[in-house]
Symmetry: C2
Amino acid sequence: MGEFDLIRRFFQRPAPAGVDVGVGDDCAVLAPTPGQRWLVSSDMLVEGRHFLSTVDPARLGHKALAVNLSDLAACGATPRGFTLALALPRADEAWLAGFAGGLLALADAHGCPLVGGDTTQGPLNLCITVFGEAPAGQALLRSGARVGDEIWVSGTLGDARLALEVFRGSVALDGAGFAAVREAMERPTPRLALGQALRGLATSAIDVSDGLLGDLGHVLAASGVGARLDVDALPRSAVLASQPVALRHLCGLAGGDDYELVFTAPPGARLPDVGVALTRIGVIEAEPGLRVVDGRGEAVAHGLQSFDHFSS
Amino acid sequence: MGEFDLIRRFFQRPAPAGVDVGVGDDCAVLAPTPGQRWLVSSDMLVEGRHFLSTVDPARLGHKALAVNLSDLAACGATPRGFTLALALPRADEAWLAGFAGGLLALADAHGCPLVGGDTTQGPLNLCITVFGEAPAGQALLRSGARVGDEIWVSGTLGDARLALEVFRGSVALDGAGFAAVREAMERPTPRLALGQALRGLATSAIDVSDGLLGDLGHVLAASGVGARLDVDALPRSAVLASQPVALRHLCGLAGGDDYELVFTAPPGARLPDVGVALTRIGVIEAEPGLRVVDGRGEAVAHGLQSFDHFSS
């Protein structure tokens, strides 16, 4: 199977509405919606770094797109399409069928068609670039948090990291517990409906990809503010809640790979109900820095840092 | 130096006009031009496959963007911006400074700002996604070639492949000759002005990335036509012209990495003068397939195929 057969067989589909030209020309051609801004994000996933070689290809396809859609969600954008560039050691048909299946199922679920890309031979590497739209001036940014805003997070935090610790052999879970946290790690849910519902309501937003401390830190830096964070308020799954405190803190504060949205909103803001739990975890303060406290307001020494690809 | 320092130091710049938000948020936010379509293309470059580990990083930066801009050129688009996803074995400051310098110099030359991306640790891999604009209905596609159209190519073909053969040790050139063809391989020129000038004039276009036979083959397949190609008419550099006929044919017909535009236009079309040579190399015919002939019209048995990442 050659490169072009591979594209045709696994990735090419008829161009949907709003896409003049999809996969198969030098460029895709899309029709922007009048009055909307164009939002773009790109993420690269490398074997051994972002996923294990043993991962089910359908789950990998899901995750590769999910982490990109999560960036659109964090900005409150509506997805319009994506490109996929793929380096593969070899053209393995069963792997490709699984990968494309997981990828395109999530794409279909969010009306985000694959419009182009590239395939080449090389160490396994997936690079997806997503495009979305939001009304001019309404994209959610990291820079809008204001003193007194409350800090909220969707869903639960820490399960993906807990699953990673099981894979690393540092934690043991029973079968049902491991299945649950592995699902969180391998099939994250991009919070697109929530992001769109937060337009005009949240003052800032980011998705938790590198860990809450680091990602919230980006919001604080971009907004020129500080924060107080209640570690006991962090929403956790039942599996994580039953773990020792140090592990709970590690997974919740510095875990990463959660793809939940952290956002700020003025006190009393009427938050949307889109079927995902929202939990208040802290408050924006004028004093720079991020102060982690427990439920009684006492400082927690956690010694944790967020994930950095070149420091850790 | 951590991941975020790296981005700030080498890749972050103030957002230019038309870019609401550039590097540093979850998404870039761009303002589409009313009445224009949005064009997107993505290319991935892998060490050992698309470039040698010894390549000068500034030249690699240039080439990584050039091959993507070439896709915009082939569609007649005006560049608007690009994202860069980069997997690096380590954060080498000298390498990054060189790479960013070559990349951003070409970006500046074409008014195509870096608006976002990703950096991670892994085997060296560069994935760029470019965005451009063209008026609705005017993007140049592969599918518009008509029987009787003439086939044209810009610049010269084959030097990049000739340089590759020197690196492989199968060909020897003198110092000046090697310098010239190496320049073609490492610093290709995206034909953006030509592509834009061909809007409404060329019936189809593609850039020569995998080799003339294969790339022209895509046009023929998409357009449902055949062609006759005069191999003796192919424009060649003086260095390539002095090589044996089999090597001339290999480099000109199947070389790849040229990033010249091949396009079709009706006979007598008034072609634009944008400072790049244009050479007529064949004609579109109704009979399917691609017939390679010499200057006397006699069939040439070349036995060549275009480059395919999973067949060669």
